[in-house]
Symmetry: D2
């Protein structure tokens, strides 16, 4: 599979100095289709070379190809790239992303600002690539030359990848999920170290609402230029734990049709998503792996499966209350943020949706 054009497509990264922005930069080095052309930051870092303005928080050095790129101010009118990745804080993302789309750019956003807008697709490529059709309605209604596509919340992506194959097979009505989320999910500086030292924080502001609502949209079906939400109730208990990367979820769920743990494990292991997703550059060989060992998945050992893009499921078993129980792990800054965002862009390219 290849992008139709001969040369690599230039991309801009909004919020390039933040943690998700840094991961996007790192993932885009040596990307076969895209090349980082513009780095944008909303802070005082504009005007200086990227290597000087960023406080690099992830392992490895600042990649050579972007070290000397001068960071730009977040002014949509002056951006040249037609494809824009947004890793902005929600506080500033809404307006800038809309301004970019209005100027004809395709915006793939990791911010929550537009996720629940009726005409904005909220995409997990293996799960609901078909929802991308919403962008036509979006352009028309808003009179935009471009459009916005959004990447879900970092906990929701792992959860949805583990629910979708089961939902397709047996239907899912009710889910109780307890999250144990990694520190990197809070951005930088995020959680104060003393708050998680020898501790667990049993609350992440705003997260439980996202986990209740976003899966309904992702697992919903397209009808009349909008998504009819799935008839699904999700109860979330969120926690911040002292783990660097990797969100772990304890899930109990109720299916419409009976489904044994073995059969549930089977449909999860067989899940691949529809073409063209499985062959995209950032798509893992297996979106979901089912681990046999009775003490897996574990963040430190399993988060990097499929270069951080594979969701690991384990302990698929009977739940005496809701029917099925399992543990789900996904890498929050890769599959849950930078990698997921990039995979959406690759899907757009493969579908010919980039001008």
């Amino acid at each position: 599979m290849s992008e139709p054009e001969n040369s690599k497509r230039p991309v801009a990264i909004l919020g390039a100095t933040g943690v998700v922005g840094q991961h996007l930069v790192q993932h885009l080095v040596d990307h076969p289709w895209f090349v980082v052309s513009e780095l944008v930051a909303s802070d005082r870092s504009a005007g200086r070379p990227y290597a000087e303005s960023v406080t690099w928080r992830i392992p490895g050095p600042v990649p050579d190809p972007v070290r000397d790129l001068v960071v730009r101010e977040p002014d949509a009118a002056r951006l040249e790239s037609d494809l824009v990745f947004s890793a902005l804080d929600a506080s500033v993302a809404r307006e800038i992303e809309a301004a970019c789309a209005a100027r004809g750019k395709v915006v793939v956003s990791n911010a929550r600002s537009h996720r629940m807008d009726d005409d904005v697709p909220l995409i997990v490529p293996e799960v609901n690539a078909g929802h991308l059709e919403l962008v036509e309605a979006q352009r028309e209604r808003r009179g935009w030359g471009g459009f916005i596509v959004t990447n879900p919340n970092c906990s929701v992506i792992g959860l949805t990848l583990a629910l979708a194959p089961i939902a397709k097979t047996a239907g899912i009505r009710r889910v109780v999920v307890t999250t144990m989320q990694a520190l990197s999910g809070a951005g930088y500086p995020g959680v104060a170290s003393i708050d998680v030292a020898d501790n667990v924080v049993p609350a992440i502001p705003g997260e439980e609402e996202k986990i209740a609502s976003e899966p309904r949209k992702i697992l919903g079906r397209l009808a009349n230029d909008r998504v009819v939400p799935a008839d699904l109730l999700v109860s979330a208990h969120t926690h911040r734990v002292g783990v660097s990367d990797g969100h772990l979820l304890a899930v109990s769920l109720e299916t419409d049709e009976p489904l044994s743990p073995a059969d549930a494990a089977g449909v999860l292991a067989a899940f691949r998503g529809e073409p063209p997703v499985p062959g995209l550059p950032s798509a893992p060989p297996e979106p979901v792996v089912v681990l046999d060992a009775d003490d897996r998945p574990q963040p430190r050992l399993d988060r990097m499966r499929g270069r951080g893009m594979t969701v690991s499921v384990g302990r698929v078993r009977a739940c005496p209350v809701l029917g099925l129980a399992m543990e789900v792990l996904s890498h929050n800054t890769i599959r849950g943020a930078a990698g997921g965002t990039l995979l959406i862009a690759e899907l757009l390219a493969a579908e010919g949706r980039l001008a």
Copy 2:
């Protein structure tokens, strides 16, 4: 309230060199009713002074009154104390505890060996003190001069204290609980450090079964010399997290009768247990506190409430799937082990069940 006798009652501690044994030793220093008289260990430490044979793993020094007590072998026939605390591993507890009871001793055990025996009480004093009547049937059936009473699993105690007031008010049918359990709960050496470094282990062998079964017995009712289990389904997802002390539980539950979060919080805050429990030396002023802050309870900040004997509940709220949700924290080695065991013994004394 006071023990009937003039002088302090001598007690033996089985498994005195283990972590729970050390906590028992620490809690019994300056106890108004009991005095440590015999320290027993199942290992090579017998024959040497306690301060030499124990590897003291808890903050503070080995208490002076027991430093020079010579550790004894676990031979029931040679124990002099009539009251025996057992902090043995389940692998050896079953026989030794029975041998002690057969020789007329009262055994209060933290081991799981006899917990689910039909004629052995499994006691959380504030919740089911009445179940102590089982000991009469136990003595009769087994022909023992003494008897065994057991302290529940460390996660079960906190859970049951948080469920009991709600169950009494509105009935509870179904519970989904996800535990985030402290390292000290695994004994010593317990979990390998590399297994929880930057990690969460999503499984604790045998724990989910205990959490499913023990609350049914504790919340059951006594009838015809046995406990009729409560009609309660508990689904448990257990995890080991990198916290020293304090088990945190995320709980969703379904009541028989409707109960608002505010009313649930009210019955929890008002809960005190029946006399004579509230006045016992180890009983906290409040068995359960309900915290208002939206990010509590937290292990590091809340585990020592009520000198480690109070269960902290927070975030009592609606659960879209089962009706009610809350977070529950209890100190696993105090309320969940040494302190809970001691409180049972105090209850036995107050009820005149110690010869």
Copy 3:
């Protein structure tokens, strides 16, 4: 020993909502000599009851006696208490503390602002109580009715308590110290959690300079109304580690006179400080304990010795390079901040230096 006056002396706490301020509040509840009368905070919290304006970050509840105290603005002219504890950030402490002293108040400060001023005593009560005489020169030179006394850096206090007895016996010329400092030492929010997750940060800004300079003043001698610094070279390597409380120091040192490890341990264990310090309310029975076990001191197990006021020393042994080596642990927010500050105030009271 008792304060000369009949009733408790009212005190004000500057920076009362910060972490050190919270510890001061907690330590002053039930203090035999002092009572918290005024709480001052430099932020938007002024005007509201303390329990509402503080984000309480330490275990246990906000103490009842101060819950309803209305937090005041940092205006020296309106403070009524003659004794003022300062837990302010250095950025604002300098001026406010001086204004208080100018208005006749005695300021005992944990801030670094005035520590190295020639006429300001930098006090570890067991070590250099005699330096308090500096306050007379301070008052005279500055024309103040009151004066300022300062509490050293949190790492310096533990280090100095471990060096002083050896220095007195054998002289100390050179010290190499590597610190492994707790998170609470950075205030709140302090270090970002992701920065210490699965990590050690090998630098604490400004800390190495303080460790190089403050011990020279503390171990110096008073002459002609100033402190002649000790002839001591200290090389510090500072690190932040993922520990909640308790600074651990690995120390190598060179003495003027030969001193065996056994003799060094002996002088440390025998160290008590001069009267009236040993009997002060916050003074521990032993300022320094020497632990025998070959893997101590450890932060989690030893930091609370002497209610957090005792410095624990272990592994006193020969250093092939400098002569002596040892490990030193002290509780950074108690001995190193709130408790140390309070002990200085008690010393001032016992010496009759409070008007």
Copy 4:
């Protein structure tokens, strides 16, 4: 550069189920010169396929090429490979390694058993490749067809790589080093999790002696078929901290000739080792990197530089006591164990020392 032979050389791994053994297995997959042919374990795992007998403790799955290899008993007489990697515990390594060498095999060992034997090379390839000549004397004296070469202690390797360039330039007499060592360095299960939770353990048994002695041998010079140790005093303070991988060392050192921090950083950055080492498959582009940022190196961010084979040095600065100070980080299970062992074998191959 290439191994002289056409096909890959078969190797045996002793102690293949341990943590270092697992890293060796992982590093040997796709190795250009070697192929894993025999897996040997000293425990009950012999006789079963590797994937069944190993409890895989490192990220990623058991590599496919070795999943079905049947684990063998540690019987030197039945081993077929002429090149043997030993990741055995020192308790059993001594005899088996000697038996292998006596049977003509080349043993590259990570165990400490033979490290300090007069006629056994202790090698850091970039530092003292020339010491390999010792093997001739070894063979002759012991009458062996093969020989043993050893890889140093995991802390010593990082330290020595950071000392060697400075020693060569200016001479080094005295070193004070404080280590903060990762959990994986203790093997499995290693340190109990409760011992490092919210804690630092200020002692690693046997480690300080190795750090004092091994660098003297590595930095020594060959003369008359033995190594004349370097005239170097090393004082070590060892600590175990709650970090998964990566040993951090705080180092103060005294040179014979004056050397400024800038010059020290310069010689470290320029260090490459002698041919043929720099081009070997496991050799990193830079054995040592010098980081500019004032808060580096950090274990989580820097341990994987050079695929875990590069030592990161930072904060090169003046030490007021010994002259120079710096922080040194190396990956303990890669550079310090599996990768270092493999690099030695590659050096032996490149020098034609494998039959």
